[in-house]
Symmetry: C2
Amino acid sequence: MTNDPESDLAATVAAVTAGQIRAGTRLISRIERGDDGVTPILRALFLRGGHGRVIGVTGPPGAGKSTLINRMVGHWRKQGRSVAVLAIDPSSPFTGGAVLGDRLRMGDHSGDPGVFIRSMASRGQLGGLAKAAGDALTVLEAMPWDVVLVETVGVGQNETDVMRHAAAVVLLQTPMGGDDIQAAKAGITEIGDIFVVNKSDHPDAERTARYLEDMLALSQRLHGDRPWHPPVVRTRAASGAGVEDLAAQIDRYFATLAAHPELARARMAERVRHRVTEILRHQLDRRLKSEASPLLDPLIEPVLSRQRDPYAVAEELLARMFA
Amino acid sequence: MTNDPESDLAATVAAVTAGQIRAGTRLISRIERGDDGVTPILRALFLRGGHGRVIGVTGPPGAGKSTLINRMVGHWRKQGRSVAVLAIDPSSPFTGGAVLGDRLRMGDHSGDPGVFIRSMASRGQLGGLAKAAGDALTVLEAMPWDVVLVETVGVGQNETDVMRHAAAVVLLQTPMGGDDIQAAKAGITEIGDIFVVNKSDHPDAERTARYLEDMLALSQRLHGDRPWHPPVVRTRAASGAGVEDLAAQIDRYFATLAAHPELARARMAERVRHRVTEILRHQLDRRLKSEASPLLDPLIEPVLSRQRDPYAVAEELLARMFA
């Protein structure tokens, strides 16, 4: 490393795009620490293009996500594809890379240079984790991984925001009893591109899968004919049953996007719109929440004397943005 | 009610500022539901001025906040002051006003027209609750309450954001053992204007209070001479001991603000800055996250073709805002 920031940037970008794991790991650690100095690097990495094959996997705790992901990684490795997994855990405190957890997660794949597994947690602000996940995915997408997988635990706002970075969302469900099915969120079918009912040997599994299929058919009728009909895949992560089918459905999804450029474009536009909004919020917070805020102070003056209200000031700032 | 929005607005503003509890309650329910139609009313209420005496009470679960607040309300009522309490509970799901909980909370004050107690929860987004609390406080501040109290449970980001709406922050602590004291957050002294160690009969209470006093003295030395030295008050909410002292310290705090206009102004500017930022974030989310976003779409075009990166677009939007 030299002391010249320009050549540092070039060297880091070259190392990451060449697939040097150490360079990628360092960058993700800096993102996790909230180091804003990485932004120029992330900008350069974004422009280098991403393969766009980020697959999100989410679902409630206990649905068997980790086991299933391990199986999927195994399947892809057999096909000769390299895989990076980013596990987002908002519940755990910042652990400096969660090294022990990651080693456990590696499972069968520890020592395989074609597999990269990294956890991310957040200290501080809630909203910050989804933004940091987007930054880390920018790094992983710039590396030559064949598949980039992002996993979240849970179903809160944070998790939904992380999933908005993915090109394809796999939503796991555990078999549900009758009451749980009644209570299932109505909007659930809008979140996933591929649905999975894991633990398919469970007595409630088939009923749950059929219920999801009915909901998806209804949603399809409501929205008119769409090129992609989200399928419901039955898996048993413990035995590996259904994993091949799931991988095939993911490939079929990306093939559908390739065959329908207008759909691919709309999905990508949605991701970019979300990304810009997220970065904007983050920058706005940093600028406005700081003690010294010469930008905002002249606008605040008339509010202090109650000649103006804070809603009006916010509206004016928004209007300026989109003038 | 007529169908003329102008006169509806005028009638609602008149009813709220006159102190009609029903009008205030309805408005808070609309805020809780996320009804954006209330914004013109909130704007008018803000301009009517607020008394600015919003007192925030926060602290960990089990610290005895509810009991202490009940005691404080009793004390103020004896002095002939009317009191409104807004209890923010991010953990509970939306309950449509939490009527049962509020009745329980009313405790000794149920049936007293000089006391108003209202809980607020949030459905949906995390950040939204603090913004909704700010809106509800705008309503309560426009009503002729002598004291407005806002209570949060817990110590997360959401709670901190709610406390930023208060003119005075009372931070409750339970007596801590040696290990807990070691683990106490270093920044804790920056949050409160008045510290309370409740359960003062507990064997660890005095040690905890002295520890806080030491931290506060250190902070005072670091920051130079400030007009207000946060005191540590010992209370026993269960018996009522120390409650008068706490109320006196709150009065002394507001007297200090009155005697130091530059301090009062700085504190108010901080609140307004936070409020504008919060509203701006909220509006930004609503505008940009919607499917149809004609505002953002032209900017997204070059990002889709990777000629530009999302960080650059966010920076441009920010620059426009503060041009």
